[in-house]
Symmetry: C2
Subunit: 346 residues, 2 copies
C-alpha cells in the first residue's frame, strides 16, 4: 500500500510500504478514508523536532475497520471509526477516569504503530482507541467532515477551555489563531463564555474566529498585544486558552491572565518553552496553570452529540483538501501558512 | 522604640528606630504583642535574596491597636488584632473576591511600611489589613498562640491544600517538613484527606507531622524519595502540596503527582526554581499547577472558627520562644535548623 513517509526536513514523500497486518490480538486494521495534517506535524517537518527518517507520519485517522484481532470486542469489520491522536487500552485507571492520554499502556501513533497518513493503518488496542461513528452520519459527507476534527483539534481546543475553567458568562482570551485556537473559540462559546477575545496574526483566521463566536479579535504582536488586551479586559482575562505552545505565547498567557484566573495550555511546549516557564509571575498572580495532551477520546462522548445535532461544526478549520498524493503539498502549504489545516481524503 | 533591623547577611540587630506614626488617614499604629520569624526571612538572612541593609524585618504581627487615622472604620484603639503577611485595602476587586494578596493597592510589610519584628508598626489600610481577634480569646495565652499562625503559615499550608484540590478521602502528599509543610498536613487533615504522606528530612519534624495527622512519613532524599513514594502511592499522589519552593522540591512535586492530579505550591520560588519549571513533564501528566502567596486574610474567616472551637491548633509549629532581644538568636537558630519556627513575644 502507499503512505506518507518522512525523509528529512521539508521532505515528505508518498512511498510504497508494507500492508499493515494484525500483530497483537487487540489490534485492528483500519482502511483510512479521512486523515489530516496537524500543526504539531510541522515541528518535525521543519526540523525543529527529532524524527527518524523513514518514519510514517500522521495521527488523526477516520476510516473503515477491515480486520480485527481475536480479542477485539467493540468494533467489527465494516465499522466506520474515528481514532484520537493517542492510543489507549481502554482498561487502565486513566482510561476509566477520562484521561486516556495518560493510559498506562498507551502511546502515540508514530511511536506504537505507524503514522496515519496512508491508505491503511494498524490500530493497537482497538477497543480502547477506536470510536464508532453513529450510523446516521454514514454517507453524510458534510457531517463526517464536522465529526472528523474530534480526532484532535476540536478535542484539543475543548481541553484548553476546560483547563482554563470557562463557564457560562466567562470572559475567555484565546491565544493563537491556528486550528486549535479556532476550536478553542468554538469550545469557549459552547461552554457559554460571554466574551471571547481571539489573539492572532492572520486577518483571515481571525475572521474565521469571529464566525466561530469570538466577540473581539486582536491582530497584534508582543508588548503591543499585551497592552491592548490588558486595557480591553481592564487587567487581564480570568480564562486564558494558550493554543500555541511557544515560549512567547506562554509568556503572553502569564502576562494576560487576571490574578486568580486560569491558563489552559494545550500546545505541545516547543523551542524555548520546553526550558521553563516564568514561574515567579505565575506565583504572584496565583494563577492556575493546567493543560496537557487533550483526552480527546474521552471528550468524543461529550462533543459528538453536539456535532450530530448540528450545534457544533469545526469543519471550517479545514481550508485545503488533498488526496494522499497531495500530502507533501499539504505540508508545504501549512508550513508557508497558505493553508490553516489540510484535510486528506482517500 | 526598638525593632529588628537587617544589617547584612547573618547580621540582624535590635536597634533604636523612630516611633511609627500615622502617615495616611487609613493607617493604624499597632503595638506588637506577638510576631514571628518566617522561613522566607531566611532567604535575605542568608544573603540569598536582595534586602537593603538598614531595612526592618518581619511580617506576621499580632498586637493592640494604639491609634487610627481619621478614615479607619473597622478597628479602634484597644482592639487586639492579627495581620497577614500581605497588606490589602479591603476594597478592590481582588479583596472582594478573597484574593487579597493580589490587592491593587496592597503590598508587603517591608515594602509598604516597616517590618513587624519590633515594638510597634504602622499598618497601612488598617480596615483591609487588620483582623480583630474575638474577645473570647483575649487573655487566653494558649488560644492566642493557636490563632497567631493564621497570620502566615497556617493560611499558607491551607492554600497549598486548597490549590492541590484536597477533598474528603484524598491521598495528599506534603513535600517539606518546615512550618508550612506541617500546616499543610493540618490543612489536609482538616479538609478530610484520608491518607497524608509527609516527606521531609528531619525526624523530629516528621514526628510532629504525624501528630498533626500524617498517616505516613518518609525521611528520604532525591531519587530514593521519589522511588519510595511512587511505590507507596502506586504511581503518584493526586494531591501534592509543595511547601518548600526550591527547584528540587518543585521537580519532586512534578515527578510525584499522579497524571491528572494537582500540585499546590506555596513556597516562594527561589534559587534555580525562579528560572523555570520542567514544563514538559507537567504537560504530559496533564497535572494542574496552582499556587501563589496565600490569601491568608481571606482564609482567616474560614480557619478562625476552628481555632476558636479547639479543633485546629497549629501552635506546635513554634518550638522556640524569644522576646524582641532574642530575635537575632532566633534567626540563627532557624538558620542552623535548631529551631523550626520562632515565636517572638513582647
Amino acid at each position: 500500500m502507499r503512505a506518507a513517509v518522512f525523509h528529512g526536513a521539508h521532505d515528505i514523500r508518498i512511498d510504497e510500504v508494507p500492508d499493515p497486518r494484525i500483530e497483537k490480538p487487540t489490534d485492528a486494521i483500519v482502511r483510512i478514508t479521512r486523515t489530516a495534517i496537524c500543526g504539531s506535524d510541522l515541528w518535525f517537518y521543519r526540523g525543529q523536532q527529532d524524527y527518524a527518517p523513514g518514519s510514517r507520519t500522521g495521527h488523526e485517522p477516520m476510516g473503515v475497520v477491515e480486520e480485527v484481532g481475536p480479542e477485539v470486542r467493540h468494533v467489527r469489520p465494516g465499522d466506520l471509526v474515528l481514532a484520537p491522536f493517542a492510543i489507549s487500552d481502554g482498561t487502565c485507571e486513566f482510561c476509566h477516569n477520562d484521561l486516556p492520554t495518560a493510559c498506562t499502556h498507551g502511546g502515540f501513533w508514530a511511536g506504537m504503530t505507524d503514522g496515519a497518513q496512508g491508505e491503511a493503518v494498524r490500530a493497537p488496542f482497538a477497543d480502547g482507541t477506536l470510536v464508532r461513528v453513529p450510523e446516521r452520519a454514514h454517507g453524510n459527507d458534510a457531517l463526517l467532515d464536522a465529526l472528523f476534527p474530534l480526532t484532535d483539534v476540536m478535542g484539543t481546543g475543548h481541553h484548553a477551555a476546560v483547563c482554563a475553567g470557562v463557564v457560562p458568562g466567562s470572559t475567555a482570551l484565546v491565544i493563537g489563531d491556528g486550528a486549535v485556537g479556532l476550536c478553542g473559540v468554538l469550545a469557549a462559546r459552547r461552554l457559554g463564555a460571554e466574551r471571547i477575545i481571539a489573539l492572532g496574526h492572520h486577518a483571515d483566521r481571525l475572521e474565521k474566529a469571529r464566525a466561530f463566536g469570538a466577540t473581539d479579535v486582536v491582530d497584534s504582536h508582543g508588548d503591543e498585544a499585551v497592552e491592548t488586551l490588558l486595557e480591553m479586559t481592564r487587567g487581564g482575562a480570568r480564562h486564558v486558552l494558550e493554543c500555541v505552545g511557544s515560549a512567547s505565547s506562554m509568556q503572553q498567557a502569564i502576562q494576560l491572565v487576571r490574578p486568580g484566573g486560569a491558563i489552559g495550555y494545550v500546545g505541545v511546549p516547543h523551542g524555548p518553552a520546553e526550558e521553563g516557564l516564568d514561574i515567579m509571575s505565575l506565583f504572584f498572580k496565583n494563577a492556575t496553570f493546567r493543560g496537557g495532551p487533550a483526552p480527546v477520546r474521552a471528550y468524543m462522548k461529550t462533543l459528538m452529540p453536539d456535532v450530530l445535532d448540528g450545534t457544533l461544526d469545526p469543519s471550517p478549520v479545514f481550508d485545503m483538501t488533498v488526496d494522499l498524493d497531495g500530502v507533501p503539498e499539504g505540508y508545504a502549504a501549512m508550513h508557508d501558512r497558505k493553508a490553516l489545516k489540510v484535510l486528506v481524503k482517500a
